[in-house]
Symmetry: C2
Amino acid sequence: MNEQDFLAAYDPRAYPAVAVTVDVVALTIRDGAAHLLLIRRGEQPHAGLWALPGGFVRPDEDLVAAARRELAEETGLDGEPLRRVHVEQLASYGAPDRDPRMRIVSIAHLAFAPDLPDATAGTDADEAVWVPVAELTNRQLAFDHGQIVADGLERARAKLEYTPLATRFLAPEFTIGELRAVYETVWGHQLHAGNFHRKVLSVPGFVESTGASTERGGTRGGPRARLYRAGDARLLHPALLRPAREETVR
Amino acid sequence: MNEQDFLAAYDPRAYPAVAVTVDVVALTIRDGAAHLLLIRRGEQPHAGLWALPGGFVRPDEDLVAAARRELAEETGLDGEPLRRVHVEQLASYGAPDRDPRMRIVSIAHLAFAPDLPDATAGTDADEAVWVPVAELTNRQLAFDHGQIVADGLERARAKLEYTPLATRFLAPEFTIGELRAVYETVWGHQLHAGNFHRKVLSVPGFVESTGASTERGGTRGGPRARLYRAGDARLLHPALLRPAREETVR
DNA sequence: TCGGTCACTCTCATTTAGAGAACATCTCGA
DNA sequence: TCGAGATGTTCTCTAAATGAGAGTGACCGA
């Protein structure tokens, strides 16, 4: 322990300043494809690259509150629609050189939002755009945001297995088919409609019936579907497991 | 946005300083009971209370590296034994009032260690003690460390379901019975020995046989058991699921 | 030497998941 | 208006995984 470390043990101000930010991996599903909220950076470093929405945590603000505030500022969301967005902490990123300006530790958050109307111009939501996740492959993101997004997507896939959070991508009332589409989009492969139906209805507290049905059948035909809303379960038991993915296991 | 916020958007130093620390929830299993590494605080605030080992992140140090360093300092571990300890990020805690002195954001980490000899006196590992987790109920920990420990224990229980990390609580070679004891301790209930045995051997990459057996039977009788070491799987598939816990689901 | 413990294997019943199909209802275009 | 095709929902059959119980034999300590 050198002298600086020794002093710092008593007074962290003996170290160079550290800044704490939040970044948000906000996901939604639009036109059957996963979309991610991104901002085009206007300034150095990484000017012109896409980056996650985020910013400094304010002195009187909890971490999740900061993430919600950033999300609200960038999307123009507020009130009930904002309340319907699920936000949770994802992980923290603090490699010493992740930002060339200074030591910045970012507390990344993960958000699941229903398909929202685009932020109206004139609000703070200047540059935020919902970008299809599929377009991100090989596209460079600012800082370590590529890694953060990858971690967020993997977390999202896992969360759908054992939580009912898939419903957060949908309107308050939804059909089993719409719910299945969420799973297929996030997991990236087709599911057996009949088995999915059976499973969803068999997991206690996942969905509850509204008694109503859709006004019309699907755009390409088919009968009207029954409408459900999210149930009171916070965890799915037994979980909906993804098929084995041998490659990721080892 | 007030003027301070406005300035801070460009220069975080316009805000009061924020400090970043790491705290470590280090778990081990000793005498068939889960133990947690704690330190008795010598100074205010919370002098005399038990607290998690932790400290400030140094300028050139990654977050996990800081956690490993703190763990090493407090346990006196080093080299190969330290390398066998599993350390992963748990979550970040940043409520504005969690430390009365200043705004401190703590990146909590979770560590799984094999049963280690107690830190020898004379090292830096002054005050760190392995405390049985069972003794913690109702005992007050410093700051929000009670919540951090609770989150860490829940994460540990979940991790044993879908990762082979239970092996990190054991020596490099272990018997199925010892592995089962880890699960029983962390999950807090008995498992069916025969079914557990079948399951562990059927999950690809969980354990691999050494070909050897223990020198002697168990202390209370029974045959010599075959020895295994950890396999190459990073995820267990299919997972070892805990029995349903109805109460935690809703 | 004996009772008891434990590793390991096996059987059987139950539950859960995978696959395919039946059937009714609906949309859309011919 | 009619028919093709799509979809929601339910069912059947099979395979796989799990829970529970028991048997066998090695081993310890008394």
